[in-house]
Amino acid sequence: MYNAGKIFLGLGAFAALVTAPVWYSVANGKSGPPELQKPVEGKECVEPTAYMRAKHMELLDSWRDAVVRKAEHVYVSKDGKHHDMSLTGTCLRCHSEPAKFCNRCHEYSGVEVYCWDCHQQKKRS
């Protein structure tokens, strides 16, 4: 192999450059996913945690379509429990501070959450 030293040096520099943001985060202690505020009351979400983590956006989409477009307000979860499909009324009952739950993860993953432009962040009644 010709110029092996230069090539490996170049590859090393390239790898370092590409992974620089990762090392930067590690150095600043931001390597893992953010700490989320656990709900105080309520032990179970409407679906298992793993499902909620991966698919909550799809679930909320289906809730929105069901409520607004089909006038259906009750969600029957896999375990047969009935839930009122309401962001403010159901989700926020446990996740009472979206800033310490939704927003933290969304900021971490760089996904804008604009639910609160319209939906209320605090249940009043």
Partner: protein, 255 residues
């Protein structure tokens, strides 16, 4: 390995890989259903008895009963104001009925107006995203999530029943309720209180009008021949706004 057997194995593997998410989706099909106490109808309609309404001059019970719980902002600039139900002068509501001899008192008579929940809603026809749509029970509904703010519906509606949020409505809502506000850039209007019907209650304006003992607003199902609105609509000469346009409004007036 022969090409044939390679293709067979690859095909089977691919099908297997596809089967996993499909099976997952099928087993996790979300089930939704209407709330147990929901009121359902075949064709909702509203009758406004102007004779009764006029017995309470200056009454704003229905307007307040609607705008406050629905977080309709009170924007002072008339070019930006948001209205779901409001009062309009008779000469503007029933312009076709006004003659050169109509008395000023009648021309200026305050008349309650709101979305007519038309049978052939032009707003629905022109909406490019189906953000506004007609439900099976006749309610012309708004899905604010889908509204892109093009305002075709505002141009399409011959009754001016729709309002556009030219600015963020939140600073103009004195006491917000749990009902979602709207945001800058979407259109809004009366929804015949779909959220009330879903929990077994009638529209807020109707309840408020009954609450003060007036009963000028009568809401009900035209699909049910025994309902109060059915009897009124079938048995008397009721007015509708701009009937010649063919939109077939389902807000009827006893004048």
């Amino acid at each position: 390995m022969k090409r044939r057997s390679f293709l067979k194995i690859a095909g089977a593997g691919l099908a297997g890989a596809c089967a996993v998410p499909v099976a997952e989706a099928l087993t996790h099909a979300a089930k939704t259903e209407p709330a147990p106490g929901a009121i359902t109808g075949k064709r909702w309609a509203l009758v406004i008895d102007e004779r009764k309404c006029l017995t309470k001059p200056g009454c704003n019970a229905c307007l307040q009963a609607c705008h406050k719980p629905h977080n309709v902002p009170a924007i002072p600039d008339p070019r930006h104001e948001i209205k779901w139900i409001w009062k309009e002068q008779y000469q503007h509501v029933f312009a076709d009925s006004v003659t050169p001899y109509t008395a000023a008192a009648l021309k200026e008579r305050p008349t309650i107006v709101l979305c007519n929940h038309c049978e052939n809603p032009p707003c629905v026809r022109v909406c490019p995203t189906q953000a506004t749509f007609k439900r099976a029970d006749g309610i012309v509904m708004m899905d604010e999530h889908r509204c892109i703010g093009c305002r075709y519906c505002i141009t399409g509606c011959p009754y001016g029943a729709r309002s556009f949020n030219f600015e963020d409505p939140r600073p103009h809502i004195a006491e917000p309720t749990d009902y979602p506000t709207r945001t800058r850039g979407v259109v809004e209007k009366c929804t015949f209180c779909s959220e009330q019907l879903a929990v077994g209650k009638r529209p807020l304006c109707v309840e408020a009008c009954e609450g003060i003992g007036c009963g000028a607003l009568i809401f009900g199902d035209l699909g049910d021949p025994s309902s109060a609105v059915s009897k009124l609509v079938r048995g008397s000469d009721l007015a509708r706004r701009k009937p010649g346009l063919g939109t077939s409004p389902h807000v009827f007036y006893i004048l």
